[in-house]
């Protein structure tokens, strides 16, 4: 599964003189003495750092990002994904910073916020006070925004400046505009129409008068200059939990685990705050969730040459939580495929259905992140549909209480059509996994007319019909189908 977002950690091994590129950057518009960017860079460069994660064994760098010193403190804010290897495998990796003058020193990880992709590290120097994120310390794990000092207000179209060290080429500042909040994730991200490249991750994004608006985090590979920032209020909340002289936790895994558990409960609650919408695929009714976070795409393959048609609906969350290079979690997707026979023999069509059903789930004992799959399979009958269903569970090795689930089903009530559905959940609790599986199964149904002719005519109309028919509850769905029976009679 690939996400359109790409994290911006650089891992480029070519070493280029940082000072040289930094100077050429600032010197580029000579006739105008004080452009906003020029002024900003001049005053910000003291507090701008490049953060690198290195292998203890061999000292070679494995990921590179940016960070910035907060106020006059020794605290540096960056992205979690920049320093994730230090958090998860401190016995293998260590971190280092490099400033705009090329001086370097060690870093110490103090706190992480996996959900918003933030981390705070401590360095052996103090900031000049350029990047201010006002915050009041609190011990409570969840700080309310109202308890904290007010932050900068942004308006769409406002100029913003991202700082960082893209692709390990040297420190840069890039100008762009603020374009509102993206609601594709479960927590807000600011949309920044400006260049943010790999290696600028964790760098600050400031307004023209130097107030921190957010932290560079990602950009879309399928777009131009579509970049994302972590809003500064999450930085504020994280900083409120950190002090300059605190002892860092010895093991970050339980902390990350807790944050992931918290996130999944928010995610699943949000997903289930209203029941699934029901869509028609042929005579079948399938559950989907279409919301800001989950996008659905439909597709039909019905070329006249083929002996069968396949219509599909795929719904997938557009965000996921980055935990490490080989673990992205907090993601849910749903898929429905409806195959309808045109010219095949019943045995051939069953072969097609088998091919579709087969090989969708596999189990590996080699993964360091998840356990091998444990599965159960049954023929089940409910509503007006009978199904072959398989569900597999995998637990996370490093994070207790988190699981991946895959449910696949195939309809078993018709020799001329096959509905195959799948829901895939990554990083949810067991009870939430059960809840989603059950609701998904309950959403699968079939309209009650079963004679071949009606199916075919009904099918021709509704194969491509992807119009939502929200049904309030299970009872409502039952009522609705009984009404349909009456209408048919």
């Amino acid at each position: 599964m690939s996400f359109p977002y790409r994290m911006l950690t650089g891992a480029i091994t070519l070493a280029i003189s940082l000072n040289l590129s930094a100077q050429t950057e600032t010197a580029s518009p000579p006739p105008l003495p004080s452009s906003a960017a020029q002024q900003l860079y001049a005053s910000a460069q003291q507090d701008l750092l490049q953060l690198r994660v290195l292998l203890k064994n061999g000292n070679s760098q494995s990921s590179v990002g940016s960070g910035f010193l907060i106020g006059n403190s020794n605290l540096v804010v960056t992205n979690f994904h920049v320093v994730s290897q230090i958090a998860l495998e401190p016995e293998t990796y260590f971190g280092e910073y490099k400033d705009t003058q090329g001086k370097s020193g060690s870093i110490e990880l103090l706190a992480v916020d996996v959900l918003h992709d933030l981390a705070v590290v401590r360095v052996a120097r103090n900031g000049t006070g350029f990047f201010k994120v006002p915050h009041t310390p609190t011990q409570a794990p969840h700080t309310l925004a109202s308890d904290q000092p007010a932050l900068v207000k942004l308006t769409q179209g406002q100029h913003l400046y991202s700082l960082g060290n893209p692709l390990d080429l040297g420190f840069t500042i890039s100008e762009g505009t603020y374009n509102g909040i993206s609601a594709r994730g479960f927590s807000d991200q600011l949309m920044f129409t400006g260049a943010v490249n790999a290696g600028m991750s964790g760098g600050p994004n400031v307004t023209a008068d130097g107030q921190v608006a957010g932290v560079n985090v990602a950009h879309r590979l399928d777009g131009e200059l579509v970049s994302f920032l972590v809003p500064v209020r999450y930085v504020q909340a994280l900083l409120a939990r950190v002090t300059h002289d605190m002892t860092p936790p010895t093991d970050f895994k339980p902390i990350i685990g807790e944050q992931l558990l918290e996130h999944q409960s928010v995610m699943v609650d949000k997903l289930l705050e209203k029941p699934f919408s029901i869509k028609d695929l042929g005579p079948y009714r399938v559950p989907v969730r279409e919301s800001d976070q989950v996008r659905c795409w439909g597709n039909t393959d019905s070329s006249a040459k083929k002996a069968y048609t396949i219509a599909s609906i795929n719904c997938s969350m557009e965000s996921a939580i980055f935990v490490s290079g080989d673990l992205q979690t907090g993601h849910i997707s749903m898929h429905h495929k409806y195959a309808h026979n045109k010219k095949l023999n019943a045995m051939q069509f069953s072969k097609l259905a088998s091919n579709m059903f087969n090989g969708q789930v596999y189990s590996t004992a080699k993964s360091e992140t998840i356990t091998p799959a444990a599965c159960t399979e049954k023929f089940i009958a409910h509503n007006n549909i009978s199904l072959r269903a398989l569900v597999c569970a995998e637990a996370y090795h490093k994070f207790k209480g988190l699981y991946d689930f895959t449910l696949i089903t195939a309809s078993t009530d018709d020799s001329q059509m096959s509905l195959q559905s799948m829901i895939n959940m990554q990083g949810v609790s067991y009870s939430n996994g059960m809840k989603l599986v059950e609701q998904f199964l309950q959403g699968l149904d079939r309209t009650t007319q079963k004679t071949g002719e009606k199916n075919r005519s009904g099918d021709a109309e509704s194969t491509d019909d992807v119009e939502a028919q929200p049904l309030a509850t299970k009872e409502a769905s039952a009522q609705n189908s009984s009404k349909k029976v009456e209408a048919a009679q």
Partner: protein, 347 residues
């Protein structure tokens, strides 16, 4: 001496190399040319042994002072009273001595169907193989392929069966003097067709009766079919000890199944070859009953203990090598890094 005596030289397998009829006793055996039976074995003496009647009128074989002597069942004696069922070893030579009144074993019933040789089994096998091959190709032919696809499929399967049988026929010819190609072809064809039939039959049965193990374990049936095919090929070649052959093949099959299962288990933590039953058949095939969603949810709940059991908090610590191996991974996840520079230069 009232009756003739037969001295037989045997192979280590017990087959007769030479049979010498003796009418006069005593006789002398050895390498020298003045013996009654001349041995070409350098491990025997020039005058090695003598067969004679003792004072008690028993037939005995006695040592003439050779260095290697006469042994029976690894015991060396100066003389043995001859028993027609026993084998005496002189150096490397194995001798069996029987008198004319030796009671031979009863006639063995001939189960060999002598009409089932040549063209008849060959054609039957090929027809069987063609039918199963064509049916399988047709069922899997979802894109309505052309005739040439079927022909190609058929030619490759038949070609394999003929080639395979040819090799076995060569063995038969070598060991038995009789190629029996038709029979070998029949055996190979039945084996291949059997695998094809098993695949469909097991699928239908598993689906109909909810016997998922029939399709999730695919190695064992294939190995058993292969072992059966090998058994019949070897019997046809002329193996004289079917009992021992059965044991060998059974042991070999168990070994193969054990190795593949272990490999599978190490890779996926499952003994079965497939994680689940992937076959879907038309509703008419179904015999077993449906379950409710609640029952399904109950069995899903029971999986939690299994996966929790499989958790390892720190897989790295358990084997230090992994940490080292993992190190190139983060560097080789260059999707954000390598893609963006290219995009960057385009801009």
């Amino acid at each position: 001496m009232s009756q003739s005596i037969f001295v037989e030289q045997l192979t280590p397998d017990g087959e007769v190399l030479h049979r010498t009829k003796i009418t006069q006793l005593p006789i002398r055996i050895g390498r020298a040319y003045d013996n009654d039976i001349i041995l070409d074995d350098p491990h025997t003496a020039a005058h090695h042994a003598q067969i004679e009647l003792s004072q008690l009128d028993e037939l005995v074989i006695s040592d003439l002072g050779s260095y290697n002597g006469i042994t029976h069942a690894n015991t060396r004696e100066n003389f043995f009273v001859v028993n027609g069922d026993k084998i005496y070893r002189l150096g490397h030579t194995r001798l069996r001595i029987r008198t004319a009144d030796y009671q031979v074993a009863a006639e063995v019933t001939d189960y060999t169907n002598h009409r089932w040789e040549g063209w008849l089994p060959a054609v039957t096998g090929l027809v069987l193989l063609s039918i199963t091959g064509l049916v399988s190709t047709w069922v899997a032919d979802l894109n309505q392929g052309t005739l040439s696809k079927y022909l190609l499929e058929l030619v490759s399967v038949l070609g394999f069966a003929i080639g395979w049988s040819g090799i076995w026929a060569l063995f038969s010819r070598l060991f038995n003097g009789h190629a029996r190609f038709g029979r070998h072809l029949f055996i190979a064809s039945v084996g291949l067709a059997g695998m094809e039939v098993w695949e469909h039959l097991s699928g239908v049965l598993a689906y109909a009766l909810s016997w998922e193990s029939l399709v999730t374990f695919t190695t064992a049936p294939v190995v058993v079919i292969c072992a059966l095919v090998l058994y019949f090929h070897m019997i046809t070649v002329g193996n004289k000890r079917p009992g021992r052959l059965k044991i060998y093949l059974a042991a070999l099959s168990i070994l193969v199944i054990a190795i593949t299962t272990t490999k599978k288990y190490q890779a996926s933590n499952h003994f079965s070859d497939e994680l689940y039953m992937g076959n879907i058949y038309p509703p008419v095939v179904r015999v077993s009953s449906d379950h409710s969603v609640d029952e399904f949810m109950d069995s899903m709940q029971s999986l939690q203990a299994t996966v929790d059991e499989a958790r390892k908090e720190n897989p790295d610590k358990e084997d230090g090598e992994k940490v080292v191996k993992k190190s190139p991974k983060p560097e080789s996840k260059p999707d954000p890094e390598t893609e963006t520079p290219e995009q960057n230069t385009e801009k």
